[in-house]
Amino acid sequence: MLWNEFKKPKDIEKILSALTKYDKEIRIMEICGTHTVSIAKSGIKGILPKNIKLISGPGCPVCVTPTERIDDILFLSKNKDVLIATYGDMIRVTGSIDGTSLEKRKAEGFDIRVVYSPLDAVKIAQCCKDKEVVFIGIGFETTAPSTAIAIERAINEGVNNFSVFSLHKMVEPVLRKLINMNDFNIDGFLCPGNVAVIIGEEGFRFLEIEFKIPSVICGFEAGDIIYSIYRLIQMRENKDFKLENEYIRAVKQKGNEIARNIMNKYFEPCDDIWRGIGWIENSGLKLKDEYIQYDAVKKFNLDLNPYKNNDFCSCGEVIKGKIDPRECKLFSTVCTIENPKGPCMVSSEGACAAAYKYSD
């Protein structure tokens, strides 16, 4: 099958061997959690020389959600009339009181359901008419359009007991924030292919035009990643700082307009908080005022926790690429896959989970 060729394209050995000869230090950030997992699974880190540093960035949606918002969800989940529908990755994330999570709430008898698609949450609302179903909308531009479709379905089918707690975020604002930090020291970005499918090559163009940082929009197979790393190195060597699209089989210049239109119909940008980083202007997505009855925060009059930044773990530093998961003092001693302490270990896309599962 043609698609499998990207796992190990015939020509990749040559590129890989050129990479192993590269001897200068270069720091490359993979923004996306799915890349973090592919890199760990494929063993790429082990093959590359130590001077080529691959650093995980703020691209795991569960990991960037701050403890304050987890607390808000946990608070809402205690409402007997509420049924929480969420992607599986969220249910083990703990709030500020150690050990509290949606999983715990479920064990205590509260109604928490894991769904694979936001439309499943609407279906649950249609069956359980005596409950208020709240879907936890999480993810970047890749999943926000799907949440929008669920809202549209609820409107069209007159489902009034459905709402969304939106934790959706956008990639560009957080990248700008990282780049503008005083201690920013990344030489090149592997840009998330799945986000680029929606926002297009154009969505990452600012990296080239405003910041002149070598960047490659990259697919998720080992071949894609090795090729893209090589191109980043070539760009740096040739002082040719631009944005390239490696993932041309999926990413169009303008992205997926249908998906973007539906996202923009229901959502608008809002200031939002990120774990370990804090407030970032216009970095989140909230429901537009016309759809207020589908916004769980408004519907339940939730008094959202203000940003306190009292995270007990180092996940914030991991998300910003400031430390490697192994540098967290809890890593693999107190915080393990079986008993995770921070979201970077809970989420299957988290940098700590990847480092723990695939470490050699």
Partner: protein, 73 residues
């Protein structure tokens, strides 16, 4: 949430479809894709197809990799 592997569309019923890869079938939605036909390959994220992958583009993609490798000789 994200499946990097493209699924082959084997059933279409309005915006609902069934995708398959290596014998595993999944219900997917095709709201975001224009003109999906049986046999097309799509990338799926949280139950939604987010893009169709054309064979031609994939071949071009492999050519890109080959070009860089060839220049190394």
């Amino acid at each position: 949430m994200c499946l990097a592997v493209p699924l082959k569309v084997i059933q279409i019923n309005g915006k609902d479809a069934v995708g398959e890869s290596l014998g595993i079938r999944r219900d997917i939605r095709i709201d975001f894709i224009k003109d999906v036909n049986l046999g097309d390959y799509v990338i799926v994220h949280a139950g939604f197809a987010i893009e169709k992958i054309e064979e031609e583009a994939a071949l071009e993609n492999l050519r890109l990799i080959k070009e860089v490798a060839d220049a190394l000789e």
